[in-house]
Symmetry: C2
DNA sequence: GTACCTCCATACGCCAGCGTATGGAAACCA
DNA sequence: TGGTTTCCATACGCTGGCGTATGGAGGTAC
């Protein structure tokens, strides 16, 4: 999720504010960084603009989350669908999603702000979509429903942990040289038959 | 990490404040919840007490984190050492650490606040200790150093993801009935020989 | 029992961010 | 070109949290 630094624009739209909010969340401040006045400064505007587009801070959060939910997960899943073989798809998905450059601080920040009800709802939606996709993938690979769900969960948990670790303690991740072997080991463990 | 609600105490120690800070972090507010005046209210005291024990808010955070680092990880590791067989130890560790009741919001909150330099340092310490322990465990099980490190990482990532998921979207976790099979599947995957 | 030392309450000034009110500029329309 | 609508800047009050200053209560020492 690349969200560009907004520099200046004579007139702003509600989406401009929502994007700025997401950028601010991802920039490390967490949900607390969605603060009207600092955002206004960053956009080269003032609160006057904001309170014309939104009723209050909550409304902005709502809009920003809605934007995140609909764009973030679907485009990755869609990108995978060009590969017909489910095993290769899993391998590609993991390679893609653990790429060191992929770091998505926004998602981590949202995970961190799950205390907020609107964030919790957005996360639930996205999480279920993803785990569902993974589970389906293992079903395609011939596992029973129960086993597919277990492995879908394992896969997602691993992804979450990896992302978290890469953000919090990047030095603990494997080096670039070790990386392929590491990803392969994970996928191998996930695919192994009893 | 059970940190009791402090109710009232005629005189407070610095550790009382540090514990209250950890409790507040864990209670969902994240690092932002380490706020002097609310904490004082909660302890039935006032800022006067706080600023006698600490120079400022930063000093409190520092003290709280130090307390967390030294108590949290070591006691779990120590508890495992009664089991001589490394495979059983791994199984026991995972069972223990994924127990639904185990939910440790404090750790999640710290992960979320990794933007703060002191938190980052504390997390690095704890993370390396844990991954090191897991890696050693796989070494004991006869894996090569490189393989042991890979599996140690996989195990830790899984743990992190599981914890995260349990906190953010608990409904996505397996039900109580599915739980043993789920844990066993994970441990099985981790122990699988090539 | 008095002098001192430890710990804390109260009161204060300061700053940042939220939300409101109001006037005005820019675009659009006729 | 005059009116209307859209969008925004400025100014204001309010709240909550940080840090400081000061006085005082309750132990302790002798």
């Amino acid at each position: 999720m690349e969200r560009r630094q907004q520099v200046k624009k004579s007139r702003l739209s509600a989406d401009d504010w929502a994007d700025a909010a997401l950028a601010a969340i991802g920039a490390g401040g967490g949900l607390a960084a969605v603060a009207v006045e600092p955002l206004a400064a960053r956009l080269g505007a003032t609160k006057g603009s904001f309170y014309w587009h939104f009723g209050n801070r909550e409304a902005l959060i709502e809009a920003a989350l809605a934007r995140w939910v609909e764009t973030d997960t679907e485009q990755i899943i869609a990108a995978m669908q060009t590969e017909p073989d489910p095993e290769k798809r899993l391998r590609r998905l993991f390679t893609e999603v653990t790429r060191p450059a992929k770091h998505d601080p926004l998602e981590l920040s949202l995970l961190a702000s799950v205390g907020h009800p609107q964030v919790a709802a957005a996360l639930k939606q996205v999480t279920e979509r993803r785990i569902g996709y993974l589970t389906g993938l293992f079903t395609e690979l011939g596992f029973t429903d129960a086993e597919a769900r277990r492995r879908g969960l394992m896969a997602y948990n691993f992804y979450l942990g990896h992302t978290q670790l890469g953000h919090a303690v990047p030095s603990a991740l494997p080096s670039a040289a070790e990386f392929p072997g590491y990803v392969e080991a994970v996928v191998g463990a996930l695919l192994q038959r009893a």
